[in-house]
Symmetry: C2
Subunit: 404 residues, 2 copies
């Protein structure tokens, strides 16, 4: 079987030796054939699969859903020669660790009662122990501290896949250092879900640039919660009531001002701008809140919510005025010749962004090649299922072996 496996991959054998106990056999092959032959021989002789170790930080809605998806997909992936092994699950308090893989049924209850703690240093030690496989650190937190740890993790040998926007929307010098570290240590750093969750945004943009297209303008609706709120106001629902409904449905951050003021969209636009080669900081993104300028949005949350109905009238007037012109208001982030901007934009009804429904994201890429008609990607850009799937797709992108 050993020799037939070598023949399978068309590998010439230079010399053969057998151990005196007849328990071992060796073959000398050309160096270039090594990795290919080794992988195939192992798979064929021992039925082994490639082991990929995952260390998952953050087990909120996205992290939890990711574990569910891995648990569900594991048998199929194993049938295709890939053993995705979650070796550590951690939140800021507890952790579950198992070198041979944490059992993924009932992890939640076991994590709650676990007394172990898993820190970035533990991850580094883990990677340095150089177990077989290609360990991947998967960040499903939104912690800035965790993001600041990526370079150290990469230096220790871990690839990084992240749903956390903090690293890419932090200081520009950190952004650059992160890429230099990844390149020096030949580690991968993937973050497709940073913009548009499961939509193929970053990869599409990278492919355009790598193949020599010139991107003139990227614009999009990048907040599901704001597109939901604007959809309701178009149906005549007062702004304050629309915000309340979005809060109840869990579509907003606990403090809805984090959405309404546009910082989350600004982070996403900053990430897109940097992909396009721009050098800038978050503070340099031109940012206009969805709330009317005249409205005072400061103070504690209950005060803000009690005051919000005062904004309803002005906001509704704007919606109505634009409707008369055949336009709708969309909260748009854009990177173009005019700069990097986030704010409310009146959009004609026939514009692709006008049709974007509650909860959807949409991105439009206008380039040398996609011009005058842009490339448009549209679909749910938030939610645990599509975001976790985007993270899992990044993990699978890191894997070489044959996949379904």
């Amino acid at each position: 079987r050993f020799f037939s496996a070598l023949a399978d991959v068309d590998c010439s054998i230079a010399a053969i030796a057998q151990g005196s106990s007849e328990r071992s056999i060796s073959a000398v092959i050309a160096q270039v054939d090594g990795p290919r032959a080794m992988a195939h021989v192992h798979r064929k002789c021992f039925g082994t699969t490639e082991i990929v170790e995952l260390l998952v930080a953050g087990v909120g809605t996205v992290g939890g859903e990711l574990l569910r998806q891995i648990h569900q997909q594991a048998p199929k992936l194993r049938a295709h020669g890939l053993d995705l092994r979650v070796c550590a699950i951690a939140n800021s308090r507890n952790s579950l660790v198992a070198p041979e893989g944490v059992a993924l049924d009932g992890w939640k209850a076991r994590l709650e009662t676990s007394t172990e703690r898993f820190t970035l240093d533990t991850y580094r030690g883990w990677a340095r122990a150089r177990r077989p496989g290609r360990p991947i650190f998967v960040d499903c937190t939104s912690s800035e501290d965790v993001a600041l740890g990526y370079p150290a993790l990469m230096a220790a040998g871990l690839h990084v896949v992240t749903a956390n926007k903090k690293a890419n929307s932090g200081r520009q010098d950190h952004w650059r250092a992160l890429r230099e570290t990844a390149s020096r240590h030949q580690r991968k750093f993937l973050y497709e879900t940073n913009v548009g969750a499961g939509l193929p945004v970053i990869d599409t943009l990278k492919n355009m640039l790598r193949t020599g297209d010139t991107v003139h303008r990227v614009e999009g609706i990048l907040s599901g919660s704001l597109s939901f709120i604007l959809g309701l106001t178009e149906q005549g629902v007062p702004l304050s009531k629309a915000v309340g409904t979005a809060m109840e449905k869990g579509f907003t951050e606990p403090d809805p001002r984090d959405d309404l003021e546009g910082t989350d969209v600004a982070r996403k636009v900053l990430i897109l701008a940097r992909e396009l080669g721009r050098t800038l900081e978050l503070e340099e993104v031109t940012l206009a809140s969805l709330l009317p300028e005249e409205f005072d949005a400061t103070g504690p949350l209950p005060d803000f919510l009690a005051r919000l109905p005062q904004a309803d009238g002005i906001f509704q007037q704007r919606v109505d005025a634009y409707r008369k012109e055949g336009k709708v208001l969309r909260y748009v982030g854009s990177v173009g010749p005019e700069g990097v901007r986030v704010g409310l934009v009146p959009v004609p009804l026939e514009h692709p962004l006008a049709a974007v429904k509650g909860g959807e994201n949409a991105l439009s890429f206008l380039s040398e090649r996609y011009s005058p008609t842009p490339l448009v990607i549209r679909g749910y850009g938030a939610g645990a299922a599509v975001t976790a799937a985007g993270v899992l797709a990044d993990v699978l992108r890191l894997v070489e072996g044959p996949l379904p």
Copy 2:
């Protein structure tokens, strides 16, 4: 510099030896560090870049544009450690071959006057010579014979990137054998441009399936030429005249019936259906021509074109009748519970496919996760620039090193 490079990638050294001439130095390192350390040491000590050899078959509009894009991008890619080297350029008659890379300025004139011929066997011999690098066979032909050669090329060690639809829309048993060969020899087979040119269609679908989403329905406008012709008929241009204009602009095949009868769309839908796990042959795709059933589309091309105005009346009546219902006709390919179908479909004006303009493609993926609102990708789905860029993106997907 050697040791600092090893330190860079965090590689422990077990033993060191220096040759007596002081011209060589060796270090023993852990096996798992091997490939990573080797690549980095080479890059740092010799300033070397990773060499990827391309053998390009077919130099029509797509192949020619691909060579132009590679020529244009080469300096940028080299700066990122990647040396894309076109070692052979061939059409069915002539070829240019150069192990160190064919010079890409003025290749066209040199190819015309070349007396060399490069056959599939030459490619195989090339790959078997096991030069360093990872040779990739790039098929920009539309030849069935070339497509039938992929398994032999993979067995010889070549990865395959193709813009040619013939392999994926040929017999189902060949489709399966191709994948088995690729898996056995651990070669990659990439064909993103088979559906929607530069649009991220196949990769998006694969990611949905790999991460455990269930795809209920894929439908789309997959022919730029037919969407152009339908756009004109909506503006009141008679069908025969619209076909004539599309022919003049070079949007159709030399015989426009190849487009009008839907075979090209049927091939694309077949490819999508097989990605979704269906087992079927091209003949099993339910196919309706864009031309009215009553119309006789047989015979030599000039006769057909002379007769085509007879179809104008019936076609215009249909367009007008649907317009009264608020619908437009779109030539749609779909894979869903009802089967695998290609034909004219009346689509309400508010449907995402109704807005698709001349020359654009659009695909909609309805799945467990993207439901009730589908994921939609839209943009130019044909044309040399975007198709060649899609092929180049596939080539770059095969490459491991750090990329822009």
